[in-house]
């Protein structure tokens, strides 16, 4: 009875007011006997707070963590620095324990944060509008696929094979539901094969989905792809790395119709895969198609600027089966973290993070390139992540690196069998030259 504040005396008084002699009566009045559970739940006995923490810390102590290991693992989750002030606000009870701001008069805090978040996303992507958040990058991409299908009425989407394998799976899972065919466009080396792509993008295709930089870390010819897509009336969906957008052009400036992003890098802990932040942004013309909550500015009856949930007629609680999506709860607290993050690093800080990541990744690539038996898998440009071919399977090398306190890169050959012994290495601003040199030295020891 850890969090139940009703005393036995209170309970008795309450039962009296209700007019029953026990809570049993309330349940008996409701739950038919034939579905009642007539035994106690078979769960381990209740623990006190002190035991809970001890149990969970014992349980998770065996995990390798980024606190103790040097991380060169990316592949969808990045060890970027999270400023201390981010968590200070994530912990504030007023943000943490509120729900969707249905009552705007007592929710201006959350509402203004979301409005600022939407604005920041628009700035970053060069798009016109953003919603209040999606579950994660993968499901945001799937929702974007749904949007292009709804918008065009077509029943095929083309997804680059260089998109995160898990995200492609999510897209396929969602699209299967509504009977949409997902066509995977093949690669040459680490990039989309533009010739093959051209043949795949027909006028039956609702949208073309690419990731930039792609899963292998490399840059796609987005300006060319945009033209291919739009030439056939397909929409152009870009999955971007938010950090990269301090260095790489905003998708809004090369014709993206929808931008989706995983916002983990923006102040959210890796946390074994979640909770993170799905970002989706689009053009004004698709404002009635975008899923999820949106906050808008308005006036109150005292003439003050204030914020409120708006355009709700897209949503499930009004439109039910005709809604743009079923999303209800989202990732607002992670959007808060991203808002605080972007505020703290600011215009110049984001550039610093991006540039440092770029510099260190390129340094690492250059050094690894020099090692016998290793080579950069592809010639094309990359940002903070790149793929190398190793003298042995990456899984094997990673086991050796682990011994040295290093979490090596992602073993990408299983997903990209054409790239032998491939390892995709991510380098963020947190990695020092010394750490990179250690990695290189350790790789050099592989024979």
């Amino acid at each position: 009875m850890r969090y139940i504040p009703i005393t036995q005396a209170d309970k008795a008084a309450m039962l009296r007011d209700i007019g029953v002699s026990s809570t049993q009566e309330l349940f008996a009045a409701n739950i038919p006997a034939d579905v009642r559970l007539n035994r106690p739940l078979n769960l381990p006995p209740a623990l006190s707070e002190m035991e809970i923490l001890a149990t969970m810390s014992d349980l998770t102590r065996q995990n390798v963590t980024l606190a103790d290991y040097t991380c060169f693992l990316g592949a969808g989750a990045y060890d970027h620095y999270i400023p201390a002030a981010v968590d200070a606000f994530v912990r504030r009870g007023e943000f943490l324990t509120a729900y969707t701001p249905y009552q705007p008069e007592i929710s201006q805090g959350v509402l203004q944060v979301i409005y600022e978040y939407q604005s920041l996303v628009c700035e970053l992507t060069g798009m016109d509008l953003s919603n209040a958040s999606m579950y994660d990058g993968g499901s945001a991409m799937a929702e974007a696929a749904g949007m292009v299908v709804q918008q065009t009425g077509r029943k095929k989407v083309v997804v680059a094979s260089s998109v995160h394998p898990n995200w492609r799976r999510v897209v396929k899972t969602y699209m299967h539901g509504i009977g949409v065919e997902v066509i995977e466009a093949p690669l040459v080396n680490c990039e989309l094969d533009l010739n093959k792509l051209e043949t795949l993008v027909t006028d039956e295709v609702a949208g073309v989905i690419v990731q930039m930089p792609n899963f292998l870390g490399h840059i796609e010819q987005v300006r060319t792809i945009e033209k291919m897509a739009h030439a056939k009336g397909a929409l152009f969906v870009v999955a971007a790395d938010p950090i990269s957008l301090a260095v790489l052009e905003a998708p809004g400036n090369y014709g993206a119709d929808i931008v989706v992003m995983e916002g983990q890098s923006l102040g959210n802990a890796v946390s074994y895969g979640g909770p993170w932040l799905g970002i989706i942004a689009t053009r004004d013309k698709f404002s009635r198609r975008i899923p999820g909550r949106i906050v808008g500015a308005t006036l109150d009856n005292r003439g003050q600027r204030a914020f409120v949930l708006t355009l709700q007629t897209r949503e499930q609680h009004i439109r039910r089966e005709k809604a743009t999506s079923n999303i209800c709860s989202n990732q607002a607290l992670n959007a808060l973290a991203a808002t605080v993050y972007m505020t703290l690093v600011g215009k110049e800080g984001l550039r610093e993070v991006a540039n440092l990541s770029l510099q260190k990744a390129h340094y690492a690539a250059t050094q690894i390139q020099k090692l016998p038996g290793y080579k950069i898998a592809c010639k094309s440009s990359f940002f903070k992540e790149f793929t190398i071919n190793c003298p042995k399977p990456a899984e094997e090398i990673n086991r050796m690196l682990l011994q040295k306190g290093i979490l090596g890169g992602y073993a990408s050959s299983p997903d990209y069998p054409l790239l032998p012994n491939a390892m995709t290495i991510a380098v963020t601003e947190k990695r020092t030259k010394a750490q990179i040199d250690q990695l290189v030295a350790a790789l050099g020891e592989v024979k």
Partner: protein, 485 residues
């Protein structure tokens, strides 16, 4: 004082909060490694503020917000229970917060064990056989579950089942989910108590029925007396039954969806299992299934092989993936902590949730209309219908007047089948004194509505902003700040 400038409006060129170290590796010119036409031309206009400004901005914003930590929050259907602080610490343990999802399984045995263990526990609570934590929220769980049902029918080549039956008292996510999974939604009228009208159901089930989605207790806070019949009718027609477990806080330890004959159920960990709502999320919507549906669960599935946990990706019948990795793991970890705190006493959670709701109902029925005149489960639905007819004071006005008392209003105008509905879910974490204060406020507003209706209709009076012009917001959408050029 009441308008707080946007962080963009506080921006001054050149100001900095967090900075980063100088580059310690030989530098390349970005334009030498990135094609010129893909280099960003104009930097994103992120705000430029100092750390103290950022801290004050978000501190002040938080002070303009209500939360469970601030005061009572009986938002029906949302189970705004207390969010234990220890769970926040648990989720920040390095093994949890600082584990990378792509780590080799040997290096995350603790987290896999956590998932596997909680799966077992929640299967016990729901009466299901297997469970996935991949869904990020209730609606996401619904979609997962309905896609599993779809995959099941497909695996049997039973492909004419294009319809999903949803009672009209259901939460909006139910029909929206069915549509998103490519089904036609068949809405059936509920009985006035929110329970399934068996005749209406019998009239629509058939060989085209893929599934029925049912919320139980219903959104009217009533346990469906014929829940087993519902399952049987649908099963008899070859369809599967989906249990929206968002209201699980009413029945833990008392009844289990699995025992009621349901094939798929989702839980809302951010409701029943106390994880914080975060201003809208993150949540977690794990989906439990009976054994015959286990092959269809999203990949990967956590399995125990000997004394090692592993991630099983080789599941040919799987629906695929619903999220990038394994769901909102940090949220799941909080629910794990919560389950540890109760063990079998989870039953008391439901006992007191039901007690509290009935206590409120017993008192407010003297002033407001009841949607259903019987003992409720974890929430009660009342209505201001009579008051509206008598003095023109609507549910919305009552809600706004409650704001002046520092209390978050109940869910209003839902379920839609009840006129002027107020759906009150106190949860088990509120004490009698708080319930009494809420009841007194509701009675006081009732009286005020009779004596001085204008005072109620013009509420709120004490909040930092007054009623908002929502029509203006929708008519002239202003959805982002943009710097004047």
């Amino acid at each position: 004082m009441s308008t707080l400038a946007l962080i963009f409006e506080k921006s001054t060129p050149g100001k900095r909060a967090v900075t980063f170290p100088a580059c310690d590796v030989p530098e390349v010119d970005p334009s030498a490694v990135i094609p010129a036409e893909l280099l960003r031309q104009k930097p994103a206009e992120l705000p430029e503020v100092s750390e103290i400004e950022a801290v004050r901005h978000f501190t002040q914003l938080s002070r303009r917000n209500h939360g469970v930590d601030v005061d009572f929050y009986p938002l029906g259907s949302c189970t705004m229970k207390y969010n234990p602080k220890v769970n926040e610490e648990a989720a920040r343990l390095p093994g949890i917060a600082l584990a990378h999802p792509q780590q080799p399984v040997e290096t995350v045995q603790g987290n896999l064990k956590l998932l596997h263990t909680l799966e077992g526990w929640l299967c016990e609570v729901t009466g299901m056989d297997r469970m996935t934590f991949q869904p990020a929220a209730g609606a996401h769980g619904e979609l997962t579950g309905i896609l599993i049902i779809k995959a099941y029918h497909e695996s049997r080549k039973d492909t004419d089942r294009r319809k999903v039956i949803v009672p009209d008292s259901a939460h909006g996510t139910n029909p929206a989910t069915a549509a998103m999974a490519g089904f036609d939604v068949v809405s059936i009228p509920s009985k006035h108590d929110g329970s399934v009208d068996l005749d209406a159901l019998r009239a629509v089930v058939g060989p085209d029925t893929a599934a029925l989605m049912m919320t139980n207790p219903s959104t009217l806070g009533i346990f469906d007396p014929h829940v087993k019949d519902v399952a049987e009718i649908v099963h008899a027609a070859g369809g599967l039954v989906y249990y929206d477990g968002a209201n699980m806080n009413a029945i833990m330890g008392y009844a289990r969806p699995g025992d009621m004959g349901f094939d798929v159920v989702h839980l809302n960990l951010h409701k029943t299992f106390s994880t914080p709502h975060g201003g809208g999320g993150p949540g977690s919507g794990p989906v439990g299934v009976k054994q015959f549906l286990a092959p269809f669960l999203p990949v990967p599935v956590v399995e125990l092989a000997g004394d090692k946990y592993l991630l099983d990706w080789e599941r040919p019948l799987s629906i695929g993936k619903m999220m990038g990795f394994y769901g909102n793991f940090g949220v799941v970890a909080r629910a794990f902590a919560y389950t540890l705190a109760y063990g079998p006493e989870l039953k008391e959670v439901s006992e007191y949730a039901v007690l509290n709701a009935n206590y409120i109902q017993a008192h407010l029925r003297k002033y407001y209309d009841l949607a259903v005149d019987r003992y409720c489960m974890h929430e009660c639905v009342i209505s201001a219908k009579t008051l509206k007819h008598e003095v023109g004071v609507k549910t919305l006005d009552i809600a706004k007047r409650l704001l002046d008392e520092g209390i978050h209003p109940p869910t209003i105008y839902f379920p839609m089948i009840v006129e002027e509905a107020m759906m009150i879910e106190p949860t088990e974490t509120e004490d009698k004194a708080t319930l009494d204060r809420f009841i007194a406020s509701m009675v006081q507003i009732y009286k005020e509505a009779k004596e001085d209706p204008e005072r109620v209709k013009s509420a709120p009076h004490l909040t930092v902003v007054g009623r908002l012009d929502e029509a203006l917001a929708a008519r002239k959408p202003n959805l982002r700040f943009k710097k004047d050029l």
